[in-house]
Assembly symmetry: C2
């Protein structure tokens, strides 16, 4: 295989994901200079000091003007304005990609802002993260053995899709392809919805009169269950708003499930509860086992 050389890379939004992508590409020697741009000057200085980026651009247009690969890694509410800002300075052979957690809305924003240049946008979503955020949390191994979903457009060239695939593979990720609708439904279920559940539970307890006592006796189970409630509120606001249809559908199905569990509890039906718990445990243990095999 010939060596991957992505040339100059522009990272728009140098947070945990954008920053980690930059570090991983650098570690793989897959890119040239990395130019970064972002809203928070302090975060940008940190990114520069830590070597996450090599240079700070003054705005997305400047960052995009001489880059071969442009990665949009801002909160999703800024996607449309970002696409609009880079549409005109975009070089003819440059590729735009993103790391947005929902794909239908990212594509809608891109179509609106990019017009005929939509063919240069290859939508992507790395399934990785942490509850920490910002360039200081970035690390080159964040995507190792993680899945990245591409939802290519009919307008994309095969070679552009291959380059984005190779870029993610050079970070150690396993790349899959899906339709945008399927991506949003699946991720809405297994990622976005649990975030809503975790935020809601912590908020419920935090608002009670005895909140201090409740948190005082919460242990390791609660800590892990709610880890994702320490995620970036603005990022998750955007994801929840753009993918609300899928999340509301999950909420309704889960409410029905909880209602049936409530009946078992109210009836004190031990055998049925044990069966449900055992089936859930078995499904999860099998999944964890498969994950380990994948990663090995």
């Amino acid at each position: 295989m010939s060596r991957l050389d992505l040339g100059r890379v522009a990272v728009i939004g140098v947070g945990l994901i954008g920053g980690s992508f930059a570090l991983a590409l650098k570690a793989a020697k897959a890119c040239g200079e990395v130019v970064g741009v972002g809203r928070d000057p302090r975060n940008m200085r940190t990114a520069l000091e830590l070597g996450v980026i090599d240079r700070i651009a003054k705005d997305p247009a400047e960052a995009a003007s001489d880059a071969q690969l442009i990665v949009i890694a801002t909160p999703m509410a800024q996607f449309e304005a970002t696409f609009a800002a880079i549409a005109s300075p975009l070089a003819r052979n440059a590729i735009i990609t993103d790391v947005g957690s929902t794909k239908r809305d990212a594509i809608r924003a891109a179509r609106k802002a990019l017009g005929a240049k939509i063919s240069q946008y290859v939508p992507a979503h790395p399934i990785a993260g942490a509850e920490r955020s910002g360039a200081a949390a970035a690390n080159a191994n964040l995507f190792r053995d993680r899945r990245v979903v591409l939802t290519p457009l009919a307008e994309n060239s095969a070679s552009d899709v291959d380059i984005v695939t190779a870029a993610w593979q050079s970070c150690g990720a396993r790349v899959a392809r899906m339709q945008p609708e399927a991506h949003d439904a699946v991720l809405g279920a297994v990622s976005h919805f649990p975030h809503v559940l975790a935020y809601a539970l912590v908020h419920e307890f935090a608002m009670r009169d005895n909140a201090a006592e409740l948190f005082g006796f919460a242990g390791g189970g609660f800590k892990d269950f709610t880890r994702i409630a320490s995620s970036h509120p603005e990022m998750w606001r955007d994801i929840c708003v753009v993918n609300r249809e899928a999340i509301v559908a999950e909420l309704d199905r889960y409410a029905a499930k909880l209602d049936s569990v409530r009946s078992l509890l109210a009836a004190g039906d031990g055998p049925a509860l044990e069966r449900l718990f055992a089936e859930a445990k078995s499904a999860r243990d099998q999944w964890i086992g498969a994950k380990r095999t994948d990663a090995a």
Copy 2:
């Protein structure tokens, strides 16, 4: 402080918690011989081989007959039969304690089976655990910096309560006292209820036609959120049945919370969602910070 010497300890149910308590007492040199008894001969052999216990008794009565401290660490459905089995052989100065996750039901079972000997039973609940179970998972540090709640009875002597307190402190635990009702309500909220939520979510996804795809794209957030769904189904069946009143009350409050979140989602109310997420994150981050300070 004089050295704690608990004498011979009987552990009835040598699983993760009972086994870890035995190992921690041994590591602290706070006890003499540890006698174990349990239903599963293979697990008992493992406990003996790993030095979790020193001897296997044939039944709870034999284990209790010459022990100074008897720890009941079976699933809670067996508590009443266990109290009944040890009531008669119990030495006059022996202390019974337990590790049951709900206290009202444990006390009810003890009163019924022990009669006048109820004064010898000091109810306790260590807030620690892991999704693994069995003697092989036991470790001497499981209780380090964890909270243990005692819910002493009016009949207990102060010195018996002090001995059980000292036993847990020798394992590195921080001991608190509560009323049994308060304990069950608080733990029902922050421990039992999240287990029900996690089991229900995994079960919901596992039962769908596209379960393989859902699990295939589930990431680290889902993994942590559902860690407690790999817990011991029989143990959690018992906890849920005995504490169902508190858990159903939590379910109803949470359902109302989710309903209000659903309204925000359906309305696409980004600012209100961000506020809720930010308040939850802030409460959780503060809690995690306080936990770290406690442990330091």
